[in-house]
Symmetry: C2
Subunit: 444 residues, 2 copies
Amino acid sequence: MASQSIVLEESSSSGLSPKYAGLAVNAVRLMSTLDAACGWGSTPDGGMNRLSLNNDDKKVRDWFIEETAKYGCHHKVDEMGNIFAIRPGQNNSLPPIGLGSHLDTQPTGGKYDGILGVISGIEVLKVLHQHQITSYAPVAVVNWTNEEGARFPPAMLCSGVWGGAFTVPWAHARAELEGHTTLKEELQRIGYLGTTPCSYAANPLLAHFEVHIEQGPILDKAEQAAAVVKGVQSIRWYNVQVTGREAHTGTTPMESRSDALLGAAKMIVATNQIVTEGELFERGGRATIAVINSMPQSINTIAGNVRLGLDIRAPADSDVELIESLCKKRFQEVCDEHGLKMEFDNFWVSPALNFDPTMVQCVRDSCSSISCNGKELVSGAGHDSVYTSRKVPTAMIFVRCRDGVSHNPTEYSRPEDCAAGAQVLLGAYLRYDELVRKSTEAKI
Amino acid sequence: MASQSIVLEESSSSGLSPKYAGLAVNAVRLMSTLDAACGWGSTPDGGMNRLSLNNDDKKVRDWFIEETAKYGCHHKVDEMGNIFAIRPGQNNSLPPIGLGSHLDTQPTGGKYDGILGVISGIEVLKVLHQHQITSYAPVAVVNWTNEEGARFPPAMLCSGVWGGAFTVPWAHARAELEGHTTLKEELQRIGYLGTTPCSYAANPLLAHFEVHIEQGPILDKAEQAAAVVKGVQSIRWYNVQVTGREAHTGTTPMESRSDALLGAAKMIVATNQIVTEGELFERGGRATIAVINSMPQSINTIAGNVRLGLDIRAPADSDVELIESLCKKRFQEVCDEHGLKMEFDNFWVSPALNFDPTMVQCVRDSCSSISCNGKELVSGAGHDSVYTSRKVPTAMIFVRCRDGVSHNPTEYSRPEDCAAGAQVLLGAYLRYDELVRKSTEAKI
């Protein structure tokens, strides 16, 4: 964790400073900003198609700079096109506290994924501006480039560069998924190849808050508008190769078979059982097989080879390891029963991420202040905050979305839920800014 | 069943006529004929690659005519290139009794599939010739064109034309699977576009016997050299479409999913259970899912659509219907449990085929005479005899093959097992010829 991390001396971030009592976001204004931010790249079905660095992304970037300038911001654009809209504070020797997310979308995306986080940050600026508040540290609303990775894989590319996961030259050279241009060429073309170095060291933030739709159904089922996100799940991905023996479906008796697809099916069922029964279910373990390739795909030839893609997740690394070992054991039993061979290859590991406890406590207290404290979540998906958390104290706020649907034109969050997310952001940010003031003044 | 069918008056085809006592095939000569018949199109790995109507097929056809001519045969080549090597009998007003199979192979085939049936017929000719026997009815060894269908789909094409399943113009127009030429063009090119009409009516047989390797492991496990084949299984093929809901594997709790691949896996397991437990297993029911297509094939997106290919077989049509109904019921239960939808489409039906009881009894008695009567089989795969049985009394003899492996260079039947098959053919054919004599003379 970075050196700026503030350690709470008490169990709470304490209440909001009395001078900020009653400060509230404006839900109507917030939704009006959302409409404005969706003014380029919207689709007739109510969704969005704004791939990173296309002409619509240029237009919304221009709008973002123009809009945030109205509330006292100056701007930095870095080498990856990340835009920092910085509103000065009382102590401008400090890096700004970041309120960030992304304005790019999936090709068949919705109006909320990413966009809600940026406009929630803008709403915080508006509240500060409206009440003529100068925060202690500067505040920066950040638009991270190419979070979706839909045009230039991988996802979270430019927050990743800032957080040290990728180098600038490597990221600049990323090629369009369906096309021939590179990310750098597109940054140049639309005028967003900035001069600020893209790195935490050269262009630091003090902390990073991010509002995002949940992209899952937990808050919708719990009828809770928003929630603190304590961290990101532990994830591991595997290839499982199952080898049996091809044989004729008509001439091979049931008892003489080594059916790789039957074995694979039993593995899929076993995987599901492991995480839907007992303690692993209670602790949020998830395991899914969603990729299957069977050979030779002939209706009258028993499958001889099946490859499965296995995705295991849990809040705790130890539970991912436990699920992995249970899968291995059960899969081997299936192989023994059916005369199959197995290769079990773990090709990707993403350890569990716990957000900064002080940041999380600020969000938790802010959630409590508007009675959004029933559920506390662990993110199942990646966000820009995964990479900012490598360098600076980070926490997230999830907003309820209908049926958990995302990456889809029908993605929807109610205005009151969007407002709740922005309100939690405002309160959490102001609490943290106050902690920064106390911590800094104590050092002086 | 065709009008030539002979109905046994007793429960047995009766023993072999005393005049034929002690007649035996010559195992060494039989294997030498097999080697000769594999002289064109053999592969370095010990297998065969002799696609129908290629240059190697032309050469083996030329050999077949030359070889059978040595034992008193004249020849008819029909419009589909089927070759009938006819050895006259005492009563040449009768159509010949056919002993047929095929000389074409799969591209990675073995030396036995099809070829063993033709050379077993030639061995019968040699025994008759050696002992100067003139049978009652004429006998015809038949080489059916394009049984494999590997070059010109579908399989069993030219016995199918003879049996009335396909028309000559349609069959002539069949295009090469990988190429541009038609079957008729290739018949012309290699000189085997005959003038005899390809139809049962114009060029009848009195009956059809076929020796074939089992292509399954039952006889090998039972250590039985050969067996009577009583008929061909009932077969039905289905497409099953399972629809769930795509969702993120990381953000979607286990209890909120409609996972189409999990449902499909449970269907695969249920299908196997239905035919491996209880009476359906005892009655030889088989059900296999060997085709699976899952969408969208992304490791972190729960499958929304899965298509399965289901193959159900049993000796009795009623058991195939029972398995179908049990599958439907169990699949629907899976759908109900997981919030899935299902379409269940039966796109192909091939009813059970029972070979002619008199022909089967002749084979059975011949099997008994050499103690090959432990197992009686039902064919799980199609053969030329499926189509001949539409028009004339037909029965088959299966020969043990190692591990049930076929359509593979390692396909293998021991010389003693091949000889047993030819011996059963000889005995069954002579028994049937004797029944024809008795039946014909009784009518006179």
